[in-house]
Structures are given as structure tokens and as C-alpha cells.
């Protein structure tokens, strides 16, 4: 099994701790001039998303996690699983609700997403940071009201609901920040 020395630690590195895969978020090298060196790291559990702190004596080795990030195309969902395809090998995989999580509401068929695979199985599905989606339902727009800053709910083609400015019309395409679940801008077609 591959392993990493603390000298190789950096943000993004995937390691195994207590049987779970983790990603290093932050690595700080701490060393008194004449004393023991430590690597103080913040790591994110890739299964739960929880961030914890760990400290290693510098020079220690840690097992590498068999985790890779790969881009895949979203095909469809059968309600229980979400199906994706590798655009190069045409290989298909299915991810369950735990792996898809909040990303589910931003997925549109044919869109490309990032999937983190752990031992070949989907661990997390990450929607693109910004997606352009059509509004399928919202109350009629209020013209000339662009300065007021009021908002109203709008339902998108994926079923997600976001707050949009009052002047946005049904059928328009808007850009959404999937991390915050917020309207960003109108998209001209």
C-alpha cells in the first residue's frame, strides 16, 4: 500500500486515518529550532465531511487513501440511485443518496460533475460551482423594479427552488451558485 511521509503533506492530499479516507485541508509545519518537529494538520473526513485536527511527529508515514477525483456525465436517476458515465471509457456507475447529497437538486441530464471515488466506489458527487438552469415556475415579473432588491421563489428545471429578483420571468435561464444555493445572474441566451 502506498504511503506518504509528513514531508509530502499538502492541501488536497488523501490519506487513511482510523480506517476512513481523509483529505488534508491545511498543513502547518511547527518546529522549535532545537527541538522536535511536528506537522499540525486539519483533515476532512471524506465520508462525513467533518473537519478534525491531527498532529504528527514529522517524518512519520501515513497510508495513502485510494481516492481519486474524476469528471463524469450525469445520466439519470431511478429515485434510489443516480447514474453517471465516464465520458472516455463509457463505464457507468451508480451513486446513492448519501454520496449525491445536496448536489442532487442541481443535476441536469448530460451535465458534467466531479465524482470522488474511494476504492472505486462513489464517495461524493459535487455539482459544478455555477450552473445555468431554466426557471419552470415563478410568479410574473415586475417590470422596472430592478432597484428594489426584493425577491420571490422560483422553481428550476431540476426541481430546486431558489430566491430570484422580482424582475426575473418564468422560462428565463439563470446562473446559480450551488455551494450557497443562491441566484447569481440572468443568463442571456
Amino acid at each position: 500500500m502506498a504511503s506518504y511521509s509528513t514531508n509530502e503533506f499538502k492541501g488536497g492530499l488523501k490519506i487513511m486515518l482510523d480506517g476512513d479516507p481523509y483529505a488534508i485541508v491545511e498543513n502547518e509545519f511547527v518546529k522549535p529550532g532545537k527541538g522536535q518537529a511536528f506537522n499540525r494538520v486539519k483533515v476532512r473526513n471524506l465520508k462525513t465531511g467533518r473537519v478534525i485536527e491531527r498532529t504528527f511527529k514529522s517524518g512519520e508515514s501515513v497510508e495513502a487513501a485510494d481516492v481519486i477525483d474524476t469528471e463524469m456525465q450525469y445520466l439519470y436517476t431511478d429515485g434510489e440511485y443516480w447514474h453517471f458515465m465516464d465520458p472516455n471509457s463509457f463505464e457507468q456507475i451508480a451513486a446513492d443518496r448519501t454520496a449525491v447529497g445536496e448536489s442532487a437538486k442541481w443535476l441536469r441530464e448530460q451535465d458534467t460533475v466531479e465524482i470522488t471515488l474511494y476504492n472505486g466506489e462513489p464517495l461524493t458527487v459535487t455539482a459544478p460551482k455555477l450552473v445555468d438552469l431554466r426557471i419552470t415556475q415563478t410568479d410574473p415579473g415586475v417590470r422596472g423594479d430592478t432597484a428594489q432588491g426584493g425577491t420571490k421563489p422560483a422553481v428550476l428545471e431540476t426541481g430546486a427552488e431558489v430566491k430570484v429578483p422580482l424582475f426575473i420571468e418564468e422560462g428565463e435561464v439563470i446562473r446559480v451558485d450551488t455551494r450557497k444555493g443562491e441566484y447569481v445572474s440572468r443568463v442571456k441566451e
Binding site: 522549535p32 498532529t55 501515513v62
Partner: protein, 312 residues
């Protein structure tokens, strides 16, 4: 870059005013420090076939040879090299300002370090008077434990009590390792951030090249200067006893063997110099790059380097 140049000019003015001789010693050496926590860089020379050549990790040994030869008060700004040290506050090559004064102890030298620090930094930013804590007082106050008397289980409990996570790879009975864990995890993060702080009288097990306190053999005449968490300088009332120095080198090598580390050759030229007589003196090494960090008010070493190692 301009700040570094200004600081160097001020350093030179400070030592000119105190009639201290600027010296130069080789950056390449046939011997290396035995300290298990310092990894020297090695190379070779075609003119000395079969010999390992070490890049200096500090100019301390050759400067002590000059002191034994009678050079008197002296200083040097030296480029030094240490393998494996890279992070927010570390670059594998950096500049050490090292100086020695004849006939004084580590307390007198702390006075002078404070005077130099003030002279260098004050033109750019205010410098409050330094605080001085013994290592023991600082541990009692910030880590709730007596570093000289506590049993190992008490040190480990103090680390847990300070909210410090267990350390992967640190043996339960590694006393100095746990002291360093408490120092970097509980003590230095709680030091005042707006002024220099000296920690003095370090445990004898971490004496390095300092003499032991004749009145209390548990501590050594060693001090460290911090600015917040940032370690700026390390100073000693210098050990002059060649026999004791050789014993410490041998103990370091035994510890290196236990850790599976390489054994650098002991610096026999230094021991011969101590044998011939090192004058009573105190010496200190101050990290020039970190001094520039403090002066500039930045918290990464990269901010004061033209080209950090990844872009060198």
C-alpha cells in the same frame, strides 16, 4: 528586499558602535552538528575525494574556534541550510545573525538582544519592553505543569488538558518530545503577541551547547526569544568544557542511532578549540528572515524572501 537591506545596514551600525568584529567562516564543513533534530545537507568535493562535505546549519562551531583563538567579541550574518524544514515560518535556507560576547552570561546577553531588536525594529514599528519568563514559569502558567518535576504521565495529561490532540508517532516516554509538544501547542501560542518574550533556563536535557546552572543542575543557561508564536533567537551561556561537550555529542549520536538517523562526524576541531580554552562568553543566533517578518508585520517567511525554495 529594501527592508532586508535596511535591516542589514542597522545591524552593521549596531555592531560597529559596540566595536564587535565582523567575521567570515566557511559555509562548507567536514563536520556537522550531532543534534538529532537538525538535518544537515551534504555534498561532495572533487578536491577532497571520499569525504562528505556538509553545508553549515549554523556558523557556531567555526566561530567558537575563532573565539578560542582569541578573536574577541564577534558577529556574522550567515546563510545556513537545514533539510526537511519548510512551512509558513521555515525555508530550507535562511540567514542567521550570530554573535558572541566575552565575559558575560545569558542574562546580560538577553539585555543586548533586546537592545539590538529594538534598534532594528523600532524605525518601522513600536517595540514594547520585553517580558522575561523562566521556561518553568511559562509552563506552569500556560500549560499548568512543572516541566522540570512532572512525571511523563503528568506531561501527557497536561497536553490533553490543554486540548492538544494525541500525536501520531510520538512515544509515550519521549520527555523532550512531549515538552516540545506542550511548548509549541500550549505555551508559545499563549505568549503576548505584541512584544518580545524571553524564555530562559531550559531543561538540562535540552541544554544543546549551553552550560548547566551550577546551582540547579535541572536547568541549562539557555534562552529563546519569541515574538508571539514566532521563535526569533536561541542563546547560550556557552559550555566551555571539552569533556562535557564530547559527552553531549556522543549522547546525541546514540540518540541518532536509536532513531535510525545518519551519524555525522563529531567536530574534533571544535573540541580541540574548547580543550585549548574557550573564553567565558555568551552567544546567540537570531533568525534574520523572521526578524524581517516581525519588522514588516507579515506572518509568512515567503513574504520576506525574493525566491522561496520552490521558486529558487
Amino acid at each position: 528586499m529594501r527592508l532586508r537591506a535596511r535591516l542589514k545596514a542597522r545591524i552593521r551600525a549596531f555592531f560597529d558602535a559596540t566595536q564587535t568584529l565582523e567575521v567570515d567562516t566557511p559555509a562548507l564543513s567536514l563536520a556537522a552538528p550531532t543534534d538529532p533534530h537538525i538535518a544537515g545537507l551534504q555534498t561532495g568535493l572533487s578536491v577532497l575525494p571520499g569525504r562528505r562535505i556538509y553545508l553549515q546549519s549554523s556558523p557556531e562551531f567555526p566561530m567558537k574556534r575563532l573565539l578560542a583563538a582569541g578573536v574577541g567579541d564577534c558577529w556574522q550574518l550567515a546563510r545556513v541550510f537545514r533539510d526537511g524544514e519548510r512551512g509558513r515560518r521555515h525555508n530550507p535556507e535562511f540567514d542567521l545573525l550570530e554573535w558572541y560576547r566575552i565575559g558575560i552570561d545569558h542574562h546580560d546577553l538577553m539585555d543586548e538582544v533586546e537592545a539590538l531588536l529594538t534598534a532594528l525594529v523600532r524605525p518601522e514599528r513600536p517595540v514594547e519592553p520585553a517580558e522575561r519568563w523562566s521556561y518553568q514559569e511559562a509552563f506552569r502558567r500556560f500549560a499548568g505543569v512543572d516541566p522540570l518535576a512532572a512525571a511523563m504521565h503528568e506531561l501527557r495529561a497536561a497536553a490533553a488538558g490543554a486540548g492538544l490532540a494525541p500525536v501520531d508517532g510520538l512515544e509515550d516516554d519521549d520527555r523532550d518530545g512531549w515538552l516540545d509538544r506542550l511548548l509549541t501547542g500550549a505555551v508559545t501560542p499563549r505568549l503576548p503577541r505584541d512584544r518580545p518574550v524571553f524564555l530562559y533556563d531550559w531543561p538540562a536535557s535540552q541544554a544543546a551547547l549551553a552550560r548547566l546552572d551550577p546551582a540547579d543542575a535541572r536547568v541549562a543557561h539557555r534562552f529563546e526569544l519569541y515574538w508571539g508564536e514566532l521563535e526569533l533567537a536561541n542563546g547560550f551561556h556557552e559550555l566551555a568544557d571539552a569533556t562535557e561537550q564530547r559527552d553531549r555529542f556522543e549522547a546525541d549520536l546514540a540518540r541518532r542511532d536509536a532513531l535510525g538517523l545518519q551519524r555525522p562526524p563529531i567536530d574534533e576541531a571544535l573540541l580541540a578549540a574548547l580543550e585549548s580554552g574557550l573564553p567565558e562568553c555568551a552567544g546567540v543566533a537570531l533568525g534574520f528572515d523572521r526578524l524581517a517578518m516581525v519588522t514588516a508585520g507579515v506572518d509568512t517567511i515567503d513574504a520576506v524572501l525574493a525566491f522561496p525554495v520552490e521558486r529558487s
